[in-house]
Symmetry: none
Subunit: 216 residues, 2 copies
């Protein structure tokens, strides 16, 4: 019987080697190869023709880009995302790019094995956290309230003001910088917080950092 051929793309060697030791305990699985960055993953996928590419997503490995390229050039190879991220935004981006499975790192190892078998048989697999996100958004789309919870909806001006707020400027200072009324700044701040469903400055700043609006 043919084994399931896996390409493991993960740039942190210790984690990659540990992951491989976990996977090979399943006798249906064999490791076709390893990669530690995006380009290498694409190149090896082409050369080794694995059934599944397990892709860890982090700063060094731009998972969305890699997934999109893999899915376009080799649609028969399934991409299984293994990551700790589970923001709504990221989930949508990577599924849109063509990932067939999505396992959160906090899952049990057996879940990962199950996901591999599921993908191999042509189905999709999502960790419960991810399924929840998908369901949540499906319901919202249907209640046509796509304004209140889509995540890419701060306006240009709101982003500008969020940046200044997160840099530590007061509303009055920002008003003077932008030659507008403090009332306008306050309204923008209020709108930003409502949109993001954040009710304190700390959360706002952490959001700004996560989104790359400011650097630490």
């Amino acid at each position: 019987m043919e084994k399931i051929k896996i390409l493991v793309a993960e740039d942190q060697i210790i984690l990659r080697k540990g992951l491989i030791k976990l996977l090979i305990e399943d006798e249906d699985i064999e490791i076709a190869g390893e990669a530690d960055d995006g380009p290498e993953a694409i190149e090896k996928a082409k050369k080794l023709q694995p059934d599944i590419v397990i892709l860890d997503v982090n700063t060094k490995l731009n998972g969305v880009e890699v997934t999109r390229k893999l899915a376009q050039s080799h649609p028969e190879i399934k991409v299984l995302i293994l990551t700790k991220h589970s923001s709504d935004e990221f989930v949508f981006a990577i599924l849109d790019a063509g990932a067939k499975g999505y396992v959160i790192k906090s899952a049990a190892p057996e879940d990962l094995i199950a996901a591999i078998h599921t993908l191999y048989h042509g189905h999709s697999y999502f960790s419960p956290e991810v399924s929840k996100i998908l369901l949540k958004h499906i319901n919202q789309r249907e209640s046509k309230n796509h304004k209140s919870n889509s995540l890419f909806f701060l306006t240009k001006r709101e982003r500008e003001i969020l940046k200044l707020v997160a840099e530590g400027h007061s509303s009055l200072k920002i008003a003077n910088m932008l030659f507008i009324s403090i009332k306008t700044v306050e309204n923008h701040r209020s709108n930003i917080m409502n949109k993001l469903k954040i009710d304190n400055l700390a959360g706002l700043i952490k959001y700004a950092i996560r989104k790359g609006i400011i650097q630490i």
Copy 2:
């Protein structure tokens, strides 16, 4: 011969299990236990008395706080940091807190094993990236006031309150959490800001993030 007892604190189960499979390949090592958050790590360290705690540092596991508590209550247990972070400030913060070893996740598995043996024999181990940071700063650090660059500049209570502030709690909420007056909390906040020469909440939060007091 006695084996080296390891407690593995890592909240991502897949990574933890993989890591353990890597470690037990070394016949001198045995896994004393596992933990998936900070409080559990401290509790199990107390109960199981491992030689070494391997601590992954991320959002769920506030490594600096855990390290500080472990180092204070159980100085005989060595803390080995395993993380992908290697910013100068984070390295200093966690070494200040009492970590004895620091391995970057991008290292080879053999390096991690080597670090374990080194710590077991009472020495310190740092990945090359970390050593470089330490060397780079050694001259400046000796000429400068030690306290000016260290978290110990703040008292224990001040750090505790800074953490809660940076997590987004109001002074009143913090007062209720700690069963003290809001006036006391306000005084602490004021003292913290004076000591750090920071005059806005945004700066305070970014300071807390840089120092590892909270994670993004």
